[in-house]
């Protein structure tokens, strides 16, 4: 660079040379290089997959050539759209599942709001005893794999429709529960709500904490009743938080696969996510992609709607920024009642499901509740018995060890790259603040947020069945799982990266710049040490959330790349209930261990992992 400068100085500085030099100088700014690298990576990880998916839905596929006369492999066609949207099968493939998806998403969201909102209010705004305990317990259902409750539900409520064996309910009350209670929308809604109410709990309690209670007190002084205050003052103030929770819960439930598969499949209650898997499973890839696109469009619609609704005018986030002076609502004689009620609720969603899974894992034959049926067969049984298709018990099963190792490996790699991406994205976005490049990076990084988990998986099949540029065909490889998991986490890593980077004043880096430190040295000695705390907790959070991710990877795993989460689903589908339950328990143990480490770690919390 220096030699270039002097040589140009000597010659008459021609126009194009200065232009080139200006361009090189722009390009060699660290945040510009980083932005360009990240754009390229995200182009590969997000844009190309989406494009490939779109392309697949618009061209004739191999199996169409055989089925449809005149179809030409690779030629343009609207066949798949016509078939899915207006065709004879559209009711079965699209409209009914879509109706089901919307039903359970709406139902689960409303129920989750009721649970999460009231828990938040009780914890933040009342004098209920044991609020700290409740605060900590409230996030546990979310830490457990999302289909844990569904599986426990089946153990308890199943009737003879699936597997022909009775559930605990039938054993206790000697009456078979009706289908509507055992399977289908009702249990799916309940189980999803009990998992996702954490979003509402966290968002609403944060909002409640930031409201100065004098706003409510002034209402009280004017003689408004408590209910009126709640409705007219408190509720509008927490509305933005509620809407954010709504968006997150709704699109998560829409894209979730585990619960609807466990509880819906036995009664042929299909939702879009299970339908996508079905279509792709039987080779109708293009049809599955059309459904995935419908999911993506829906969640785009919801997010746009949310932004319209909240807008900037109604964002109250800064209100009462002086720190809260909350006046606790006195529950009086109801204090104990509320406390006991909440604890019973927590037990119902945490202890009882886990207890059911443990109990069922000791039953030699599913559905036989006699003491003599208790056995360790599924834990440490020998290979080659009539049970579990001849597989040995989980603890002696090399396949499980390999699967567990895959899970850990996947989570570690993803967490590592996500943390790295967080640092790089944070730096590129924050240092380039105000430039168009920075905005582009930030917006592109947000894109995976609107792609529901199962659709993301579908996108990745589309991309990597064929080699792409320098990348080989990755389908069936472990790297593909890592890639999709990283891509899925990009919005979170960018958000936490930006907030970590914002806390490092720009002067700190400039001071090093003046002292003559190179980019690398500035990064190593200044930026990294000052942001590391945030990234370590981000690392651990990614670790536990990838560990229990199912929807995202269910379409991409092969017997070789099986992870614990997908393994449970395959056991369930094979009818090996007890094995599935043990694997879920192992998963819960690993995830709990991870969250324990986080809670020990300075500054680590689930809130931060959600980018709040």
């Amino acid at each position: 660079m220096a030699s270039l400068e002097t040589s140009v100085e000597r010659s008459s500085s021609s126009y194009w040379l200065t232009t080139v030099r200006r361009f090189v100088r722009w390009l060699t700014r660290p945040h510009v290089i980083l932005s360009l690298i990240m754009l390229l990576l995200m182009y590969y990880m997000i844009i190309i997959p989406l494009y490939r998916m779109l392309e697949t839905t618009l061209t004739w596929q191999m199996r169409d050539v055989a089925a449809v006369p005149g179809a030409e492999l690779g030629g343009f066609t609207l066949y798949h759209y016509i078939r899915m949207v207006t065709g004879a099968l559209s009711q079965i493939y699209l409209y009914t599942p879509l109706k089901h998806s919307l039903t359970i998403a709406a139902g689960a969201t409303v129920l989750a709001l009721a649970i999460g909102g009231s828990l938040a209010w009780l914890v933040v705004r009342t004098d209920m005893p044991g609020r700290n305990l409740v605060n900590q317990l409230a996030v546990i259902p979310y830490i457990m794999p999302s289909w844990t409750l569904a599986q426990a539900w089946v153990v308890f409520f199943k009737n003879r429709l699936s597997g022909g064996t009775p559930g605990v309910f039938e054993f206790m009350f000697e009456q078979s529960p009706p289908d509507w209670l055992a399977y289908g929308p009702v249990p799916i809604i309940i189980c999803s709500a009990l998992h996702y109410y954490t979003f509402f709990f966290l968002f609403v309690s944060a909002a409640l904490m930031s409201i100065d209670s004098s706003l409510e007190e002034s209402g009280e002084l004017m003689g408004a009743s408590r209910w009126r205050i709640l409705r007219k003052i408190t509720f509008p103030l927490v509305l933005p938080a509620i809407l954010s929770g709504f968006v997150m819960t709704f699109s998560k439930v829409m894209g979730t696969f585990g619960g609807p598969n466990i509880l819906g499949a036995p009664v042929r209650y299909y939702v879009v996510s299970t339908m996508i898997r079905g279509s792709i499973g039987v080779g109708d890839r293009a049809d599955g992609f059309v459904l995935a696109l419908v999911l993506i469009l829906l969640s785009l619609l919801i997010i746009t709607l949310n932004q319209r609704l909240i807008g900037t005018r109604k964002s109250y986030e800064t209100i009462g920024g002086r720190g809260f002076v909350a006046q606790a609502t006195k529950l009086l004689k109801w204090r104990k009642v509320f406390f006991v009620g909440v604890i019973i609720f927590q037990a119902l969603v945490i202890i009882i499901p886990i207890g059911l899974l443990v109990w069922s894992s000791f039953m030699l034959q599913d559905g036989n509740y006699s003491l003599s049926n208790l056995s360790l067969q599924h834990w440490i049984g020998e290979r080659g018995t009539i049970y579990n298709h001849g597989e040995p018990g989980v603890l002696l099963n090399p396949k499980i060890y390999k699967t567990a190792w895959n899970s850990i490996r996947l989570s570690l790699w993803t967490a590592l790259f996500t943390a790295l991406f967080g640092v790089l994205l944070g730096y590129a976005i924050v240092k380039g603040r105000g430039t168009r490049l920075s905005k582009l990076v930030e917006q592109l990084a947000f894109l995976p947020y609107v792609i529901p988990g199962i659709a993301f998986g579908a996108v990745y099949i589309a991309m990597f069945v064929k080699p792409l540029g320098p990348l080989p065909a990755l389908y069936g490889t472990f790297s593909l799982l890592v890639m999709v998991s990283i891509a899925d986490k990009i919005p979170y890593s960018s958000r936490s990266g930006v907030s970590a980077m914002m806390q490092v004043g720009r002067e700190l880096e400039e001071a090093a710049q003046i002292a003559g430190a190179s980019v690398w040295r500035r990064f190593k000695s200044i930026i990294l040490p000052l942001t590391s705390a945030g990234f370590v907790s981000g690392f651990l959070l990614t670790f536990i959330s990838v560990m229990r991710e199912l929807s995202l990877i269910i379409l991409l795993v092969t017997p070789d790349t099986q992870v614990l989460a997908s393994q449970t689903m395959f056991y369930i589908e094979n009818g090996d209930q007890q094995m599935a339950n043990i694997v879920i328990l192992i998963l819960i143990a690993l995830v709990t261990l991870g969250s324990f480490i986080i809670s020990r770690f300075r500054g680590g919390s689930l809130k931060k992992g959600l980018g709040m």
Binding site: E510, Q513, G516, I526
Partner: protein, 362 residues
């Protein structure tokens, strides 16, 4: 050792706003130049351009004879290669490093030997009177102490040019006074060319060898503190400098050496001026009598504000209000009559339309 700094036609945009607008100035070797102006006037941006932290959109910068920035030639030396040091307003000490590491950071980059580095740290901490603080973390020190360490960090690698961006603005009034004296002493002993940014006119007047007053990105006046105070180049500078504020009186030239202000006339050199003008009068440039004296104008005392060493008196006559200053405690009371006599050589005359200085006592 000391080096000059030359800025030629420097321009820097933020969006559509010209933060620095075609500024040219030369700073002599070893001088202490203060960039003075209200917030948003472009003084910090100009400093950051010289430091290399901002990329200007036009112009050139030289340190000595060396071209360090040229827009036309697309040359921009990185900050680390410009051989300058910068003290930030908020100190910007690296919070995860002890004092010693903060100071040796730049020395390590220069590849200094370990023993030499130890020696230099000791020496520098002595210079800022912070011996024995090597093992402290920044957050374990008071604001004033952090300020000294920030200074030490800059002094340690012996830059040719010192840049300081409002270094005292985060200190309390008492500490600020002490630090002013020390900074001046430091400049005196190091002889490094210094550029100092502040919005505090007292700081500028007390410490600088030259003051550059800026407004809206434009350089208003570059001169010695004495000249800036006594012969402000325009009404903005006159109004910005001085406490209590200068009196700006609207008047009309009514003849050679005579300007009519309200119901009285002032005698001063009017040069080529004619028509409407503004007369600038420093509060200390009027003599106060409680008895009528020749050539004095009668005023009513509107308010009296004693502050120990001096007394500020606000006097009025019809629509004209004048602030004057008297040493010590004045015996004048509110609603008294006083007679003010103006020193014709102390009055400056400005063109009403352009706001520029027309004539002075010279």
């Amino acid at each position: 050792m000391a080096t000059s700094i030359t800025v030629k036609n420097l321009t820097k945009y933020f969006g559509d706003v010209k933060a620095v607008n075609d500024v040219s100035l030369t700073i002599e070797p070893g001088s202490f130049l203060t960039l003075l102006g209200p917030s948003g006037c472009g003084k910090t941006t100009l400093l950051r351009c010289i430091a290399g932290l901002e990329d200007p959109d036009g112009g050139e910068i030289y340190i000595g004879d060396k071209l360090i920035f040229s827009h036309a030639k697309a040359i921009s030396l990185p900050p680390g290669k410009r051989e300058l040091g910068l003290v930030f307003q908020n100190y910007a000490l690296w919070p995860h490093m002890k004092v010693e590491k903060n100071i040796t950071f730049a020395l390590e980059i220069q590849g200094m030997k370990k023993e030499e580095m130890q020696e230099r740290v000791k020496e520098t901490l002595e210079e800022v009177q912070m011996q024995g603080y090597e093992e402290r973390y920044p957050r374990e020190m008071s604001g004033g102490q952090q300020q000294r360490i920030a200074l030490a960090r800059m002094l340690a690698y012996r830059p040719k040019v010192f840049l300081m961006d409002e270094p005292l603005s985060n200190l309390d009034a008492r500490l600020r006074m002490d630090m002013r004296a020390e900074l001046k002493r430091l400049h005196h002993s190091s002889d490094a060319t210094t550029i100092y940014v502040t919005h505090d006119q007292v700081e500028a007047l007390t410490m600088s060898t030259k003051i550059a007053v800026m407004k809206d990105g434009l350089l208003q006046q570059l001169d010695t503190p004495d000249a800036v105070y006594h012969y402000p180049a325009n009404l903005f500078v006159a109004d910005f400098i001085g406490n209590p504020k200068v009196n700006l009186l609207n008047g009309v030239v009514v003849g050679n050496r005579c300007v009519r202000v309200g119901s009285f006339e002032l005698n001063l050199d009017t040069g080529h001026a004619s028509g409407e003008v503004v007369v600038a009068l420093r509060p200390e440039d009027a003599t106060i009598s409680t008895q009528p004296v020749p050539d004095a104008v009668e005023f009513n005392v509107y308010s009296v504000l004693p502050s120990g060493s001096e007394t500020t008196i606000v006097a009025s006559r019809e629509d004209v209000e004048i602030t004057v200053k008297e040493a010590g405690v004045s015996r004048v009371k509110m609603d008294d009559k006083i007679w003010l006599k103006f020193d014709p050589h102390a009055l400056n005359l400005y063109d009403k339309d352009s706001g520029n200085l027309i004539s002075s006592k010279n």
